[in-house]
């Protein structure tokens, strides 16, 4: 009897300890894996898949010729051991052979997502994030000529273009406003690096944070490509049965009161 009681008690204690450990452990893991603003290497899977697939070996870091990538150390407030970069320090220089990707042993950096149909690298497919302009802090929006980000962009006139506008304040000058095409921008961060303001007025954010989504029910009717999405659509016509009784009869019928 005593032995049995001891056994049950020690089992209960073990389970209690395990439950407590699991609570603290899972709370910590749940906390440290959320870093919505982190910028991953090219070809990274969507963040939640990336986190479970990256083995934190650092081969991408070793492969990067510009020392752009680093592994998150304790205290960096990023999921520990995973690769990321800070464009203001060192941006991604968009190497044409993307050396950081093929070395990934787990597929957390997905080679296929960066290749065209012929199997050749297509650096325009890199999609780390998008550049966002703070129009209040950008001196080009004040009317001062600065095209640092525009000229730094490896996809000049595609990812960042200059929008010319008349400067009504002076009446004789032009604004040269940098505008980002978020469909083209790779998120390399060369613009953020080049920005002349104290804290960059153009900076890269992950797609999940910076991009909106229209929803499938809006169609660009003027775009034949987009219009094609509704080419095969069938409209469903419904008919409501109309009550044939006269209004007076319906009101006099007690039903429904």
């Amino acid at each position: 009897m005593n032995e049995r009681r001891k056994f049950i008690l020690s089992m209960a204690r073990g389970i209690g300890l395990a439950a407590m450990g699991a609570l603290a452990w899972s709370a910590y893991v749940g906390e440290v894996r959320s870093a919505p603003l982190i910028l991953r290497p090219p070809g990274a899977l969507p963040e939640s898949d990336f986190l479970r697939t990256c083995i934190k070996c650092g081969l991408c870091v070793l492969a990067c010729p510009y020392d752009t990538l680093r592994l998150a150390a304790p205290g960096d407030s990023n999921p520990i051991g995973t690769p990321y970069f800070v464009p203001r320090d060192i941006p991604c220089y968009m190497c044409e052979d993307i050396p950081c990707v093929p070395v990934c042993p787990t597929g957390a950096l997905n080679e296929a997502s960066l290749k065209d149909e012929t199997g050749a690298w297509e650096i325009k497919k890199i999609d780390i994030g998008v550049a966002v302009v703070d129009v209040e802090a950008c001196v080009a929006f004040w009317g001062i000529q600065c095209d640092a980000c525009y000229r730094a962009c490896p996809l000049m006139d595609e990812a960042i273009y200059l929008k010319y506008e008349k400067n009504e304040r002076t009446g004789k000058h032009a604004f040269l406003k940098p505008v980002v095409n978020t469909n083209v921008c790779t998120g390399c961060g060369l613009c953020e690096r080049a920005c002349i303001t104290e804290k960059p007025a153009i900076f890269v954010l992950p797609n999940a944070i910076a991009l909106g989504k229209v929803g499938d029910h809006y169609i660009k009717g003027w775009d034949s490509g987009d219009e094609a999405r509704v080419a095969g659509a069938k409209a469903e016509t419904t008919q409501t049965k109309i009550n044939q009784q006269s209004a007076l009869d319906a009101l006099n019928a007690d039903e429904g009161f």
């Binding site: 986190l51 150390a73 960096d76 520990i80």
Partner: protein, 271 residues
């Protein structure tokens, strides 16, 4: 020759660490990456099988390279090394050995009341790591592993990871003898299980033994030496880390490395 295996182990541990660090600092192509996953001579992948188990349970679809790497490592320790990873490769062993050395020379174990901690806790931690990986969709132990923190830190930059070193050192020094490696570490638990049937084993010769118990004093997993001074047999428990400390401190040549003696063991059992 009281320290021949100790010196060899330190050379191996630091040498491997040096190769990894050299890969980052000087671009050496011998051993790149870290203990989670590496590339040997730019061609042979190596990977931590326990990490792969967690990642698979977390739902990751893994590339062929890393699976092959994990298989190579798993087979090496299963067939040859046993739990040798802990004594010959893991950088945390440097920390816990230092704590243990200091603990012995300060005589803390004699003064301190024994804190009870079961050596099987590590298997629970290992199971919990797998369970939480499955439940949370991310490799749970890899998020907190002090082994990875120390090794990755040494190669790629430590940050506040120094804290992990200090904590483990103090824990093993003041809280519990062999606390981390001998009781808690799930990776050690994994290699204990995986290396259970490996070939390289310490053999104990009871005829030569004078029961001085020097081996048990230095052994970090004392329970594996249960046969000392009692019977001649191989140390077959998976928890043995093949560090060779018992072999080198023995003055009577009663312990030596050998291949697992299947036949002899069977014969002795029948006698």
């Amino acid at each position: 020759m009281k320290y021949r295996f100790m010196i060899l182990r330190r050379l191996t541990q630091l040498g491997l660490l040096g190769l990894y660090i050299g890969a980052n600092l000087f671009g050496w192509k011998i051993l790149q990456g870290n203990l989670s996953s590496s590339l040997l001579f730019e061609s042979i992948p190596l990977a931590d099988p326990y990490a792969i188990m967690q990642m698979t349970l977390a739902g990751a679809v893994l590339g062929f390279d890393v699976l092959l790497g994990a298989l190579i490592i798993a087979l090496f320790y299963m067939i040859i090394g046993g739990r040798a990873f802990c004594a010959w490769v893991c950088p945390v062993n440097l920390i816990t050995d230092a704590a243990n050395k200091l603990r012995r020379s300060l005589g803390i174990s004699q003064v301190q009341k024994r804190v009870y901690m079961s050596r099987s806790i590590r298997y629970w931690v290992m199971g919990l790591g797998l369970l939480l990986s499955f439940a949370m969709g991310v490799a749970a132990f890899e998020m907190i592993s002090p082994i990875s923190i120390v090794h990755r830190g040494a190669v790629f930059g430590m940050g506040l990871g120094v804290g992990a070193i200090v904590v483990i050192f103090l824990f093993d020094l003041f809280v519990h003898e062999n606390g981390w490696c001998g009781h808690l570490c799930p990776l050690g638990a994994f290699y204990s299980l995986a290396g259970r049937f490996s070939l390289i084993r310490v053999y104990h010769d009871a005829e030569a033994c004078t029961a001085c118990m020097k081996c048990k004093e230095v052994c970090p997993e004392k329970e594996v030496l249960h046969m000392v001074a009692k019977s001649s047999e191989s140390v077959v428990m998976g928890e043995c880390i093949n560090c060779g400390r018992c072999v080198e401190v023995c003055d009577d040549d009663a312990l030596h490395f050998s291949l697992r003696k299947f036949a002899m063991q069977a014969k002795e059992k029948s006698l």
